[in-house]
């Protein structure tokens, strides 16, 4: 082959490679936009079918056999109370476990086991938490099909998320901060409380928000413990007119939740109930995507403001 022809040949190959690269770049961009487009389609679809149902009446009415009169009052109250139970269990336990594993735990077989266990727990299907809750909380502990049992199931479910995000937040803090505290004679807990926790609040809060958003959208564990789909009453109030003025009766009350209510409406025939399902879905999407969006912003903010 003559040298010129060789050069031409190589030039042609280089151009072809460039063209292929350009095409792949375009393909990747289109697929990225398309995949994100699913999210937009999902939202628009729910809005188109359900937005007209969302009004004051919808938020303040109990479910009903007549679709047009039905509302999500018991569902959103149930979701709110569930989250109260879930948060008050998962946050302290998860943050404590995160601090322990990151700051205290000795490097040994037991710690390795706990770490593998947490990683694996994060991948256990949510419905299995429901089965555990059904057997342990509902029957063994005799909590019944109550807000307490549901909230505990969801707390177990999101515990790994809180642990992992706490650990990640602590891990980004350089060792010199700890060393400085120890050099001044602080105990490990004092270093954690006065220095490490304040620096990692942003990261931990991000994880907490993500875990709560996950818990709000979960329905399968609640279905397995037997959350009822038709609840036309509210749990007993937490504040009562006789001493000691607070009552915890509500945690033993049967309940429904937004995703359960939506599931119930999806599985009913008839366009009117499907409009209700879309409306409930829209509420769920706004809550969960809003929380996730807040978490993303918070994470970005927390990262930007700290310069070691």
């Amino acid at each position: 082959m003559l040298p010129e022809r060789m050069i031409e040949h190589q030039k042609g190959r280089a151009l072809r490679r460039k063209a292929i690269d350009r095409w792949f770049g375009r393909l990747g961009f289109v697929l990225t936009v398309g995949t994100l487009g699913v999210l937009a389609v999902l939202l628009l679809n729910l809005a188109a079918n359900g937005l007209f149902r969302i009004d004051w009446h919808f938020l303040t009415s109990f479910p009903s056999r007549r679709a047009a009169e039905a509302g999500v009052l018991s569902a959103w109250v149930g979701t709110a109370l569930l989250m109260l139970v879930t948060a008050s269990l998962a946050i302290p336990l998860g943050v404590a476990a995160g601090i322990y594993l990151e700051e205290y735990a000795p490097k040994n077989k037991w710690t390795d086991f706990v770490e593998i266990n947490i990683a694996n727990l994060a991948g256990v299907p949510s419905i299995l938490y429901g089965l555990m809750a059904l057997s342990l909380f509902v029957y063994q502990f005799r909590f019944g099909q109550s807000i307490l049992a549901g909230g505990m199931a969801l707390a177990c479910l999101v515990l790994p998320i809180v642990i992992v995000s706490t650990r990640e937040a602590l891990r980004t803090i350089p060792a010199m901060i700890r060393e400085a505290a120890f050099a001044l004679g602080s105990t490990r807990w004092q270093a954690v409380w006065h220095h490490l926790l304040p620096y990692s609040t942003g990261g931990i809060a991000t994880g907490v928000i993500l875990s709560m958003s996950r818990a709000i959208g979960e329905s399968s564990p609640l279905i397995t413990i037997g959350a009822l789909t038709f609840i036309a009453f509210l749990p007993p109030p937490a504040i009562v007119d006789h001493a000691p003025f607070v009552s915890f009766e509500w945690i033993f009350s049967p309940f429904t939740a937004l995703p359960i209510q939506m599931f119930n409406w999806v599985s009913r025939p008839g366009e009117e109930f499907q409009a209700n399902a879309a409306a409930a879905g829209l509420l769920l999407m706004v809550i969960t995507l809003g929380m996730n969006g807040a978490a993303i912003l918070l994470r970005r903010h927390a990262q930007r403001n700290i310069k070691w």
Binding site: L27, L42, A96, G123, I127, F263, G281
Partner: protein, 301 residues
């Protein structure tokens, strides 16, 4: 004379001791949850497995443990899980991998920083909403192309499930591709390869165990997914490998039984724990394999 700081030091030590035990308790809580799951699955499904001979689990063609003439063909349940997972992977693995390659090797940094958290939102959507979408939007759409498609189909549920697990593939895959050292890429560029060539011939093999971990964890997610299949794939167990058909998965069966009245210790109660035990073993296998692959990748990188 005692040191002036001694009493406060003693207090600090006491607080430290209390806090260590409280924190340690938090660490134990996660282990307790695992034990809780394992022990309840074993004890509650034990009556089922000791009553039903192993041979029938393998050879029966139908799964109807609640009927008067019960059939215990696990394969009827597993087929549903297998088909929906397969459809989901056909969506998520190619799409997720292409997106990972694009975001890691091609996309401008600012686009990547914008897209990554947006993609995560796809896995944050409540699954009951995905189920709604599959049943009431995607299925009617597919019925226009293929009019014989039943109202409940594994195809529709699987496709949506695939969308849901794309972020698992993309984000883990992209992370592992980006941690492939720049030097390797530069070497290949210096030899005259193009971007896609480098991505496929250098970065992809270099990141393979990370990508494999992403695939395996995505499989585990798809196997354990419940609400999408319960809403859109149907609740009747059926031994079929046709994605255009409707069939219940292991998870959907648990939902279907849980929706009814479920007295403690009844055969229905025992059967969902049996299904749960099988589900746990499957996902545990995938999860452990995924983490082993991931660890191997971190060691290599």
């Amino acid at each position: 004379m005692p040191h002036p700081y001694e009493s406060s030091r003693r207090l600090d030590k006491a607080v430290e001791w209390i806090m260590v035990w409280m924190l340690r308790f938090g660490g134990w809580a996660s282990v307790l949850v695992t034990f809780g799951i394992v022990i309840t699955l074993i004890t509650e499904s034990e009556p089922f497995f000791s009553k039903v001979p192993f041979r029938r689990l393998m050879t029966d063609k139908m799964w109807t443990p609640l009927f008067a003439d019960p059939q215990y063909g696990m394969s009827a349940l597993l087929a549903g899980t297998l088909v929906t997972t397969g459809v989901a992977l056909l969506v998520a693995i190619p799409l997720g991998t292409i997106l990972a390659i694009y975001l890691s090797e091609f996309a401008p940094v600012r686009l990547r920083e914008f897209v990554k958290p947006m993609l995560e939102l796809l896995s944050a959507v409540p699954t009951v909403v995905y189920g709604y979408f599959a049943l009431l939007t995607l299925t009617p759409l597919l019925q226009k192309i293929y009019p014989d498609l039943p109202q409940f189909s594994m195809l529709s549920a699987g496709l949506i499930m695939g969308i849901m697990i794309i972020p698992y593939v993309t984000s883990l895959g992209e992370d592992s591709m980006r941690s492939v050292p720049m030097l390797l890429r530069e070497g290949a560029f210096a030899l005259g390869d193009g971007k896609l060539g480098v991505a496929l011939r250098v970065v992809f093999p270099g990141a393979f165990s990370g990508l494999a971990a992403a695939y395996v964890l995505a499989i585990s997610r798809a196997v354990g997914e419940t609400m999408i299949v319960a809403i859109a794939a149907g609740l009747q167990p059926k031994l079929t490998f046709n994605p255009l058909d409707s069939a219940a998965t292991v998870t959907a069966f648990i939902v279907q039984v849980s929706l009814g009245d479920l007295p403690h210790g009844s055969i229905g109660y025992q059967s969902i724990f049996a299904a749960g035990a099988v589900l746990f073993l499957m996902t545990l296998g995938f999860n452990l394999a995924g983490h082993a692959l991931r660890r191997r990748f971190h060691r290599a990188a």
